[in-house]
């Protein structure tokens, strides 16, 4: 056989391919926590929908902040305060770029997705939802996108309506049109379901809601680390994310809102930083985004979140999406081939999540045995009890993938599932 001689053109193409291809082994080295053994076996972390591990870039950003820049922001005249303020605001711009928001003032820092949704429910919601009005969610929402609306509806005498899903875990869009009425005041929907992995057709949902002048809030906690999110292209009105689900710290998240909506909303919490001037007679609220950021914020973790967004951008969300799709496809095929295993959530458009049950074996027992093999999965209802009810199961095992997972780890999962049979019979 003759050795293939590469033309300059082929070499360029190969180089380009290497530059744009996703080197998962190299990426894994960015995550110190992954280099450990659990029960004597290499850690296989498949609980990324619960929380993701943190790259050195994030750990070091937080470490650096506390070692060298820590101060309160937006007030001090001293150097440290100036640095802390600059870093904090730099993170806002990083998130603006990450979500492709039109303006940085549309980025409000919160404790997480949950607080971001509560913020909208308690401000926009209380302002616009009245007696007899309706709030529309879907059957696949996480509790955090159900309960804030229930609280609001209870307070206002409004109704919470639910767009149903089919047996594959896909939204029944035809029901959306019937459920969207003159009484609908807001639609709240997950971009990517944490329990089923379904990717919802947001453009279409937003288009139909906007045709009736109904704003749309998107729970983007699971989508943000897994796909390119462009809030302008989606044209959604609010988009909520959590830092810790996108390789950033816990305790920090973001509410994106269109500026005109945010301007018209009353403040969420009162306190320092959210005011322009205070007298006992009258308080003038600060401008966006500070109007919604009362009190000294979680500065260090905001900076950590900014570092996470930059890390993801450097790797490229398209690359991450492609890599995770490959791992998920491999996992879906391999797990579906195991006798007695049933996959829950088989939507055509899916990412990140593989939920399943095993005939005659409770998910909790599966979780314990997998853990003994070094494999971390989630077992339970995944904070989506209505989804479990829809599929008439008490719980599932959920393997959820991140950018650092490999096909070999999927193979370890499959071997682990066989082990479950061996131990429990």
């Amino acid at each position: 056989m003759s050795t293939a001689i590469k033309t300059p053109h082929a070499i360029d193409a190969a180089k380009k391919n290497r530059a744009t291809s996703f080197d998962v082994q190299r990426v894994r080295r960015d995550f110190p926590i992954l280099q450990q053994k659990i029960h004597g076996k290499p850690l296989v972390y498949l609980d990324n929908a619960a929380t993701t591990q943190k790259p050195l870039a994030v750990i070091e950003a937080i470490d650096h902040y506390y070692r060298s820049d820590n101060a309160n922001i937006h007030r001090g005249v001293h150097t440290l305060s100036e640095r802390a303020t600059a870093d904090y605001e730099k993170a806002r711009v990083a998130i603006q770029r990450f979500l492709n928001a039109a303006q940085s003032k549309e980025i409000i820092f919160t404790r997480g997705t949950t607080e971001a949704i509560n913020l909208v429910a308690q401000t926009y919601g209380r302002q616009h939802v009245g007696k007899g009005d309706e709030v529309l969610i879907t059957a696949m929402e996480h509790h955090s996108n159900i309960v804030p609306w229930q609280l609001l509806c209870e307070e206002k005498g409004a109704k919470l309506l639910v767009v149903p899903i089919n047996d594959r875990g896909e939204l029944l869009l035809e029901h959306l049109d019937h459920l969207l009425t003159a009484r609908t005041k807001i639609v709240a929907v997950a971009h990517l379901s944490n329990a089923l992995g379904t990717i919802n057709p947001l453009r279409e949902i937003v288009r139909r809601a906007h045709a009736r002048n109904v704003p749309v809030l998107v729970d983007g906690a699971q989508a943000a680390p897994r796909m390119v999110v462009d809030v302008q292209e989606l044209d959604c009105d609010f988009y909520a994310i959590s830092g810790h689900k996108m390789y950033g710290p816990t305790g920090i998240g973001v509410l994106y809102g269109k500026a005109d909506l945010l301007e018209a909303m009353p403040p969420y919490q009162g306190g320092g930083d959210m005011i322009a001037s205070v007298t006992f007679e009258k308080t003038i609220y600060n401008r966006l985004p500070y109007k919604f950021e009362a009190g000294t914020p979680n500065i260090a973790d905001t900076i950590g979140l900014g570092a996470a967004a930059e890390y993801l951008e450097e790797l490229g969300l398209e690359q991450i999406e492609k890599h995770e799709a490959d791992v998920l496809n491999h996992a879906t095929q391999a797990v579906a081939a195991i006798p007695g295993v049933e996959i829950v959530g088989t939507a055509k458009e899916k990412a990140g999540v593989l939920s399943f049950t095993m005939e005659g074996i409770h998910p909790h027992d599966i979780g314990t045995i997998l853990d003994n093999e070094g494999i971390a999965v989630r077992t339970g209802h995944h904070c989506a009890q209505p989804v479990m009810e829809r599929f008439k199961i008490p719980a599932t095992v959920r393997a959820s993938f991140g950018l650092y997972n490999t096909r070999e780890e999927v193979d370890a999962l499959v071997a682990g599932i066989h082990k479950v049979r061996e131990v429990l019979g």
Partner: protein, 147 residues
């Protein structure tokens, strides 16, 4: 693996697959539901108490192997015991699965649950039925939750 075998002993697996006293008890004088919201395990315990003694005890519901076997073996053990004996047995059983105190020498067959102490996250599974029993005997109406 040996720790796993300690946890999932043959007796436990056998009870989880073929639970004893797994039925509604029509003559029950007390009943209560135990619920673990984290994993969805849910059992109802039925007890027929007369003159302070457990004449009959059964259960219904669904859960993992550990919680189901524990409920099954609890009903076997407690039939004919007094309320006081049941309470003191729960205390000893709790000590066993949390790794405090004895290895269960005084608990008879229930000693097979000693392996649970190596798996702190599974203590709630092993004690769910017992918590429900206590609630039933105390006449509580609402489901007891492990959370």
């Amino acid at each position: 693996m040996s720790e796993l075998r300690e946890l999932y002993q043959e007796v436990i697996l056998e009870h989880s697959k073929h639970p004893r006293n797994f039925r509604v008890l029509d003559s029950a004088s007390h009943r209560a539901e135990g619920f673990n919201p984290l994993c969805g395990d849910r059992f109802t315990i039925y007890v027929d108490v007369q003159d302070g003694s457990i004449r009959d005890i059964t259960f219904q519901g669904s859960g993992c192997a550990i919680s189901k076997a524990s409920a099954s073996m609890m009903t076997q053990t407690l039939k004919g015991k007094s309320e006081g004996e049941a309470e003191s047995m729960f205390t000893r059983f709790h000590d066993l699965v949390t790794g405090h105190g004895s290895r269960g020498e005084d608990l008879g067959k229930l000693a097979v649950f000693s392996g649970v102490s190596e798996f702190p996250l599974r203590v709630k599974c092993a004690t769910l039925a017992w918590h429900a029993l206590r609630a039933a005997l105390q006449g509580k109406q609402e489901a007891v939750s492990t959370e």
